[in-house]
């Protein structure tokens, strides 16, 4: 994808935020130095660069656009207040995402996301069909509903794991937990999901059995 012009910085790479963080580490540091020197407008550069990932991460937690933007704004405000505390041992983006993750998790515990219980999700149209008769959109909605219904620690770990493009180290850094803990929570979270989603996608095991018999 080609870069798209942005009104504040002049560019916005349409790449994953992880690739962007490698490129922008030096620019982030320079912008932070200017902010700490008293140039508040330099913070706008950081906002423009990281607004999309922060809003998207918030949206993955709360599935509400308005609330996602509110939480992302609060994350940026806290980052501004705590800029002096960034010790530069890790990249600015890593520190920012850890701060935002902490805030989002706290907010979701304080006011949980509105979630339709899985039992109110539509029944499979055709249980004989490979995918239960769901189209792709409906399948995604059911999966995301199931994730929202997980206990907080599994939901948070799964959300961050996929946000960080299945990077366990980055997930562990954001949550400030050990990588082993991340793996354990992922395994447990997936086991709960398999159990929850068995009713809607129970033909998967039949498909697998059929594949095995045909070999």
């Amino acid at each position: 994808m080609q870069p798209v012009a942005n009104n504040a910085t002049g560019w916005e790479a349409a790449e994953s935020y992880r690739k962007r963080s490698y490129v922008s580490a030096a620019e982030d540091q320079a912008a932070v130095d200017r902010v700490l020197a008293g140039d508040i407008s330099a913070f706008e550069e950081l906002v423009c660069r990281w607004q999309k990932p922060l809003v998207n991460l918030a949206y993955r937690f709360c599935r509400d656009r308005g609330r996602a933007e509110d939480m992302a704004q609060e994350a940026f405000l806290r980052a501004y207040r705590s800029l002096k505390k960034w010790r530069r041992e890790s990249a600015f983006s890593t520190w920012l995402f850890a701060l935002a993750t902490n805030l989002y998790c706290s907010e979701l515990r304080r006011i949980p996301a509105r979630n339709v219980p899985l039992r109110e999700a539509p029944e499979p149209i055709d249980s004989r069909a490979i995918d239960g008769g769901f189209d792709e959109q409906e399948r995604e909605r059911v999966v995301r509903t199931a994730v929202q219904g997980l206990p907080a620690k599994y939901r948070e770990t799964l959300t961050l794991f996929y946000f960080h493009e299945m990077d366990i180290a980055a997930t562990a850094q954001s949550l400030a937990i050990a990588e082993g803990t991340v793996k354990a929570r992922l395994n447990r979270g997936r086991a709960i999901l398999r159990h929850k989603l068995a009713k809607w996608f129970s033909s998967d095991w039949r498909q697998a059995a059929g594949d095995h018999a045909r070999r």
Binding site: A8, R60, R65, R81, R139
Partner: protein
């Protein structure tokens, strides 16, 4: 559902684009924050003389109680005498050693601490 199907669904990037006014809204909040003066630090050094005066007063009072209790003939008589004796001794010490000034210092320190706490909480 197979794990790879779950992976595929959850890894899908929603590509939510922040609203056009998001950056301006954040910067407005940051500028408001920058324009607010920092909260006052708790005046620990100013409160220190008050704490010292309070500690001295308590020590003197305890010393008076111990002195009176030791001077009594019997335990119960000593306790009874010591209670009234402590009050008398305390008042005597107070008058002799400028206790009124100590009391004034304690009151001033207390007021200073309370006003400082109110000023700090009022800033937030």
């Amino acid at each position: 559902m197979r794990d790879d199907n779950v992976d595929r669904v959850l890894a899908k990037n929603d590509e939510l684009v922040p609203s056009s006014g998001f950056t301006n809204s954040v910067m407005a909040a940051v500028r408001r924050e920058a324009g607010t003066p920092p909260p006052l630090a708790f005046p620990l050094w100013r409160a220190l003389p008050g704490w010292v005066a309070a500690a001295i007063t308590v020590a003197l009072a305890l010393a008076g109680v111990v002195r009176e209790a030791r001077g009594s003939a019997t335990a119960t008589e000593g306790i009874a005498k010591s209670v009234s004796g402590v009050v008398t001794a305390w008042l005597a010490i107070w008058a002799r050693d400028g206790g009124s000034w100590i009391l004034l210092g304690l009151v001033v320190s207390f007021v200073a601490v309370k006003l400082s706490l109110r000023a700090v909480s009022g800033q937030r």
